[in-house]
Amino acid sequence: MENINAGDTAWLLASAALVMLMTPALGFFYGGLVRRKNVLATIMHSFFILCLISVQWVLWGYSLAFGPDHGGLIGGFDWLSLRGVGQTPNPDYAPTVPHLGFMVFQMMFAVITPALITGAFAERKRFKAFVVFTLLWATFVYDPVAHWVWGVGGWLRVLGTLDFAGGTVVHITSGVSALVAALVLGRRKGLGSIPIEPHDATMTVLGASLLWFGWFGFNAGSAINAGGLAANAFVVTNTAAAMAALTWMTVSWLHKGAPSVLGAAAGAVAGLVAITPASGYVDVSAAILIGLGAGTFCYVGIQLTKRLKVDDALDVFGVHGIGGMWGALATGIFATVAVNSAAADGLAFGNPAQLGVQAIAVLASVTYSAVMTFVILKLIDVFVGLRVPEDEEVLGLDASQHREAAYTI
């Protein structure tokens, strides 16, 4: 136990709690964007995933993602039900904090990632299908990709991929899977012919604000120590979120004639997504440029998705898919050893090869997530059925799936 550092341990456990808050915050972010007949079902997606993956992760998820390597692809069953994961630090992952602390910090990442996807199939997915999908997706998509990028021996880690807090593992996998889910499920009934409006924009802005707060644990906690790197990640996270919010609001103001409040909230989230992989490798000037890119690219991406008539209900691909890809590539451009001597320089500092490595990671995670998500959804459609019947969709998922109502006033 002599290697345990009290400051590092306190910061990592506090960060785990901050990241935990992000999942219910996401529920409120999404909950405000749906119609009032579906708000409870939408919040339940996030809350249920917090419970489901908390158990899946300790039973087998952590072992598959971080357990001893098998061929660079998966972690194996050595740490099933946390066998051998105790109070002693693991020198490979977190040499100064208890292994259990690192495990629970990573658990919160595994929790929020499938919750992000739920925004794509909001207002029309059968609850049972959602439950099965989440369990299969976490096991066959999240856990392997987390091992590729972060696990000791993972092939993308060996290749030199830089992903400080989950741009590839969390945001690209969830964003691309969301697009596939939107395409497989099809459009909501009445979309384009009847008004489908957010029922409570204030709930969405509050959710976005709480996401922003929790993101300090997500990124600064990923330093795994309470030192300078954590402080750098904290500052660039805040800067990129602010810049992306300003950019998105401005672009929407020029495009649609008004400075959108929901646009500012979505822009902040896009900035947080984009800075995630870069937060331990870039300085504050790069964070401003990453935020600028996130606010612009994600906004344009969402307009294109809508033009293609894809019903990604709450713009998950636009924010997390495009924001995640931009963040991963931007890391390959702006990374500098002046910020993190254990990493590598990017294109802007004379190392174009790093951008190539980042592109390989993007391509691999996009392809794998898309194919696996499609297969999982098709299997569930055969055995369970993905969508609720039309009459239940019209009635709303709160009543049809949960026999409850969000508001009685």
């Binding site: 008004p195 401005t250 020029l254 300085d283 000037s285 401003i288 702006f334």
Partner: protein, 41 residues
């Protein structure tokens, strides 16, 4: 890179100055219903 960061922020400030100040009214269903209800009352 510092120059690019300052320039990008300056672009936003200029955009706020030239952005439209009067916007066309967009009909949001819930807002429209509330207005009609207020009128009826």
């Amino acid at each position: 890179m510092e120059l690019a960061a300052f320039a990008s922020f300056a672009v936003l400030v200029v955009a706020w100055l030239i952005a439209p100040t009067k916007t066309a009214v967009v009909h949001i269903e819930s807002v429209k219903k509330a207005a009609e209800a207020a009128q009826a009352a």
